[in-house]
């Protein structure tokens, strides 16, 4: 029981990170109609920015600002590429997947060549923090607390934005029917850019929390996380925000439980196997496609 509780706690803090990534990913899928496979890679890039800023200052606010700003800037900067892509191909998410896979490759290679000589980066030990609560096998570090509570706050803010504000309404309108939205006078391109910016904002925050949770990052991290984010999003039903919320969290918990209870290299295979069964039974995902 103690072990189970400990693993649940681990799973929840990891899951909240997956949720944030899935949300940002789904938002761009819904509003801009693209599969941004490189989104987790961008988040890892922002972790590198955090690390760079931390070498000059330990002002937390500055670090968060730098992370968020860099993620927004880069994410918005690549928007024109996808816009041009949509102009050439129509809104074909398959092509956007191909292009974003190339971008992911680019980002990984830039990190492994140019940043910290390709070595993993490590954040200050205080960042991860010692256990703030510990009893037997149950331990909760400051980093986990940041990830879990920061994650909850960010998700709450995201859903508030989406369901309680004017801009959120507009984002939902475009995701439901972009042609109708433009007919009633909603500026589509401006709002799409906004969705990239919001995903960037979420990504920047995720980067800071991820840094605190993991304590380090490496060029390969984007690929590790990327596959899981795409898998969670598809499992939920592409672009289904609430489904993504559930599946992201479930993925974190399932991963922790699998590592905690199942035999090593088979643990992920079993997790994948379960996913396979679900996908074969419900090809549209658990909660249905909304894109």
């Amino acid at each position: 029981m103690e072990i189970f509780a400990a693993q649940l706690l681990n799973g929840l803090s990891l899951g909240s990170m997956y949720v944030l990534l899935v949300l940002g990913f789904n938002l761009m899928l819904l509003v801009a109609k693209i599969i941004q496979f490189a989104y987790p890679h961008l988040v890892v890039l922002s972790m590198y920015v955090c690390w760079g800023v931390l070498r000059h200052t330990d002002n937390m606010l500055l670090v968060v600002l730098a992370s968020v700003a860099s993620c927004i800037v880069v994410n918005v900067a690549i928007e024109p590429i996808f816009r041009l892509l949509a102009k050439r191909h129509g809104l074909d998410i398959n092509v956007s997947f191909v292009v974003s896979m190339s971008m992911a490759l680019l980002i990984t290679d830039v990190m492994s060549h140019l940043l910290n000589y390709g070595y993993p980066i490590a954040f200050p030990t205080e960042w991860v923090g010692k256990s703030i609560f510990s009893s037997g096998l149950i331990a909760f570090s400051a980093g986990q607390a940041y990830a879990l509570f920061g994650g909850i706050a960010a998700v709450a803010a995201f859903f508030y934005l989406l369901y309680r504000t004017r801009q959120g309404r507009v984002l939902r309108a475009i995701s439901e029917n972009s042609l109708l939205s433009s007919i009633i006078g909603i500026p589509i391109i401006k709002t799409r850019v906004l969705s990239y910016a919001i995903a960037g904002l979420l990504g920047g925050l995720t980067a800071v929390m991820f840094a605190r949770l993991l304590g380090s990052a490496s060029p390969g991290l984007g690929d590790f996380v990327g596959m899981k984010v795409v898998a969670a999003s598809i499992l939920a039903g592409l672009g289904n925000l609430k489904g993504g919320l559930v599946c992201g969290l479930l993925l974190g918990i399932a991963e922790s439980m699998a590592i905690g209870y199942l035999a090593g290299s088979w643990s992920n295979a079993i997790a994948f196997m379960m996913m396979l069964v679900i996908m074969l039974i419900k090809p549209e995902g658990l909660f249905g496609i909304e894109a």
């Binding site: 109708l180 939205s181 007919i183 006078g185």
Partner: protein
Amino acid sequence: MKKSSMLKVEGVSVSYGPVRALENISIEVDRREIVALIGANGAGKTTLLKAILGVQKVQSGKVLFLGDDITNSSTDKVANMGLGLIPEGHLVFSTMTVLENLQLGAYHNPQDFNDNLENVFESFPVLRKRIHQTAGTLSGGEQQMLSIARTLMSKPELVMVDELSLGLAPKVVSEIFDILGDLNNKGYTILLAEQNAKKTLEFANRAYVMETGRVVLQGLTQELMSHPEVRRAYLGSNV
């Protein structure tokens, strides 16, 4: 050119790839008029409305609205200038509530939102009752009313209606035509694209008859109703 001309389409042509959808179309709508576009399915009515609004790219010709050239302008800009389209198939944002739909309609005109809302509810009392209901759960007629109401929230200078009666019961259609008549009395200018020629011709002041992307006849509705060709092709009369 008359001073009160609101919308002027001059020699517009549109192609979908190698297929020509509109051929050198010219129409005009004056202030406070009700103008109808009639023609069979595929005659190019919807394409024309889309071309006016900038949804569909125009290859040649000109679209003037309130004297400004809006040819191939971006749709949201045109909508912002006061051109409202009520699209075919009573389209609403079905996952959102009635209120949210109306709020979206007021995207460019948020300042006197409450007054506008009151006005709209006056015309469509049924929507007031359904204000927090999800739009997807409304009946077809109610969705059409919501679609109109949403357009009115932006206080458009010109209301364009595409296939108003499609998929609706005759009784509901009459009801909505009545409401449109009221709106016209209140000062709205209306451009109506319809397959249901009889009802439309009774309702409008002037009409253009379209066939395979061209305007084949035009004039006052009374005159058109007695035109033998129109009677044969659109009004189901053998005379």
